[in-house]
């Protein structure tokens, strides 16, 4: 089974961004979305640390050490960028001005629940801005590998881990394709090249519904 690599997963989701959207990118694969060529669409990338209007990650030697995205990577700024502090940055988030937040996750449920802050049996966790974003953004998109390293499904009927927020995920990109939580299962919006419906179903812990 082939499928998409990490940048392709990010590119596929970035294709869904609509002209004029304000987009928040979380740590990990989601940060790759700001590398995607979005053509003539006007997309404003917001990072939780108060950077509004950033662009691609810069190569070593060209980076500005004072400027990082949510993943701690040194990014560039687009014309019209602005900087705010953390309270104003999360004010933008909580007041519903983020059109979409793209996050990584451990698990996504067919109900739209997702879990990305605490592993089973773990003491403490890593919430970061995920709960604020999940509760308040207009849309939540998730990017994750379709299965764990042990091959267990991460798209499930119900989350087994403590959730980050309930019923909020509307679109999921994995290495196998693009899926939409649909209550009883996941609607298949698109399968990655070389991935069959049956192979995707086998790797999924909930029914797949033909898109």
């Amino acid at each position: 089974m082939s499928g998409w690599d990490r940048q392709q997963m990010a590119d596929r989701l970035a294709r869904e961004f609509q002209d004029g959207w304000i987009v928040n990118l979380g740590v990990g694969i989601p940060t790759l979305c700001s590398n995607t060529d979005i053509g003539d669409r006007d997309i404003l990338y917001h990072a939780e640390n108060g950077v509004i209007g950033y662009g691609p990650v810069l190569p070593a030697g060209q980076e500005d050490l004072h400027l990082v995205n949510a993943g701690g990577q040194n990014v560039s700024l687009n014309p019209g960028a602005a900087i705010v502090h953390h309270a104003d940055s999360f004010g933008i988030i909580r007041s519903g001005r983020i059109d979409v937040t793209v996050m990584g996750a451990y698990e996504v449920a067919a109900s739209g629940d997702f879990a990305n802050w605490k592993l089973a049996g773990q003491l403490g966790g890593g919430i970061g801005g995920a709960m604020d974003l999940a509760a308040c953004a207009q849309r939540v998109f998730i990017i994750l590998e379709h299965t764990t390293r042990k091959g267990e499904p991460r798209l499930l009927r119900q989350c087994s881990l403590p959730v980050t927020a309930r019923g909020v995920v509307t679109l999921v990109a994995t290495n196998l394709g693009l899926f939409a939580p649909a209550g009883e299962g996941f609607a298949v919006r698109e399968l990655a090249p070389g991935v069959s419906f049956e192979a995707a179903q086998t790797a999924t812990g909930a029914p797949l519904l033909p898109g």
Partner: protein
């Protein structure tokens, strides 16, 4: 001018009176704004039973830099209040983790926006507020919520601190600060929440009036001590490129 200068000659002197049991906030999001030099001085100073407030407990990356993880290892920390008490990459093990697992350090895990807003509330004289964040999650279990205009919100309290350690780009003698780019992050909020704000400054301290009043990111009202960062290698993480290249 009657008031004594806010400029301190070195980091040791600037953190000397932080007492055992203090609640100390540490600025920074990844590198920018992180007070490495002041944290190193606090490690040497040795204050115990600290409550440490920051985005992360640090220590996720190599090479290690002075951070809360090191303060924990040094036996100085009673409690952390952070948005991350585990690494974002589950395979990373934080220096903090074994101490937490053994019950030697307490931890309060707070969503990042709530952490920022609790600090801002303390600095703004707001004792408590409601937020939609974390409603319906494990973090809200057993806690007070309230339905306002049909939506459920969680009650959160202000988070005041005794000391804020932050890093800035420029300062004037009145204590007015400017941050460069994402260096701003939590720094102004922690200063507002703190009784005493101590700042490591990347550029030499300017005379009062050298910063345009419209371009001050944090007024000197919130700033008590300034320490200019010496050139590397004595100064940690100097961001002047020529020094780093040495």
């Amino acid at each position: 001018m009657g008031q004594r200068s806010k400029v301190f000659g070195n980091f040791t002197e600037a953190v000397a009176d932080i007492p055992d049991g203090a609640a100390v906030a540490f600025g920074g999001f990844a590198g920018p704004g992180t007070p490495y030099n002041l944290t190193r001085a606090l490690l040497a100073q040795g204050a115990k039973r600290l409550t440490c407030i920051a985005n992360t407990t640090g220590g996720a990356h190599q090479p290690r830099m002075p951070d809360i993880g090191m303060l924990v290892e040094n036996g100085q920390v009673a409690k952390v209040i952070c948005a991350f008490t585990a690494a974002t990459r589950p395979t990373d093990v934080l220096p903090f983790t074994p101490f937490y697992e053994r019950g030697e350090v307490e931890a309060e895990l707070v969503p990042q926006g709530t952490l920022a807003e609790r600090l801002r509330a303390a600095g703004a004289g707001i004792p408590a507020f409601y937020t939609p964040t974390a409603v319906g999650t494990e973090l809200a279990e057993g806690r007070e919520t309230r339905v306002i205009h049909g939506r459920e919100y969680l009650l959160e309290y202000a988070l005041p601190c005794d000391v804020a350690l932050i890093r800035a780009w420029r300062a004037d003698a009145a204590g007015n600060l400017q941050f460069r780019l994402s260096q701003r992050n939590f720094c102004p909020l922690m200063a507002m929440a703190a009784r005493t704000t101590i700042v490591e400054v990347e550029e030499p301290v300017l005379p009062a009036g050298a910063i345009d009043p419209d371009q001050v990111h944090l007024p000197g009202i919130f700033v008590h001590r300034l320490v200019p960062i010496p050139p590397a290698p004595e100064g940690l993480w100097t961001t002047r490129r020529q020094e780093r290249a040495r």
